[in-house]
Symmetry: C2
Subunit: 118 residues, 2 copies
DNA sequence: ATTCGTTATGTTTTCGAATAAATAACGGAA
DNA sequence: TTCCGTTATTTATTCGAAAACATAACGAAT
């Protein structure tokens, strides 16, 4: 015990409104999968997430933006499906960019720090 | 649904080693309470955390640093107690400083961004 | 040796979140 | 009008983490 260790910093960021979480890592990952498959159910299956959970997340995101991030179609050819709106695609881009910048910032700061002076 | 919203950014940071979590918000809060009370059990009670949980967190932190952050005394006058080492006090300072800088950074970036162009 | 309040540690119980299951609704196509 | 695979929604079940509980160990003081 108590040997000199190497420390790394981790972080999670998320964007919220007064009504709760809006975008986070999981939500953005879901958006990307929906974009890939054109289907909420396929996206959920791919992420090993229940369809119900995915549906709730989509609902939450859509209801917290002036226009829906995910456009859903019920019934019809192939049973329906879902696609991302321009706002949906933009949300992915903005969030990932912010997350990347934040990681860079933290890693830079971490270099300057040492806990363990031995 | 879908009215224009105000977005805020939140974040959590934590420091880890290859053995798992080392410092995070909860752990630092615990360190501060131990410093305040001179007792793990009193700190735990104040935080409405079980003593066992607090003890495990202290153990985890101590074992991931070259010298213990919390110095424990079993038995004796008053039954014993615990105090922070210099390393423990430093850990609080370093972590809180980093968290603050990160918050500032994110809030600045957030000002430049808008999701919702209406 | 007894007392005291703490640290130390194993065991049991509880609780809520996540998952799974079940069912309905939908609408284009054949 | 039947079929299809999706979205939509409610209800039931499972599971694991957290809390609660229970005891032991400790050592200075009296």
């Amino acid at each position: 015990m108590a040997t000199k260790e190497e420390y790394t910093i981790k972080s999670r960021i998320w964007i919220r409104t007064k009504n709760g979480a809006f975008l986070g890592f999981g939500r953005v990952a879901l958006l990307k999968k929906i974009d890939e498959y054109g289907s909420i159910s396929k996206a959920a299956a791919d992420m090993k997430m229940s369809y119900k959970k995915a549906w709730e997340l989509v609902n939450s995101m859509n209801s917290q933006h002036s226009s829906p991030l995910v456009i859903r179609k019920i019934g019809g050819k192939g049973g329906g499906g879902s696609v991302l709106s321009a706002a949906g695609k933009n949300a992915i881009k903005v969030f990932e960019d912010l997350a990347q910048k934040n990681d860079d910032f933290l890693n830079d700061r971490m270099k300057e720090i040492q806990f363990d002076d031995e």
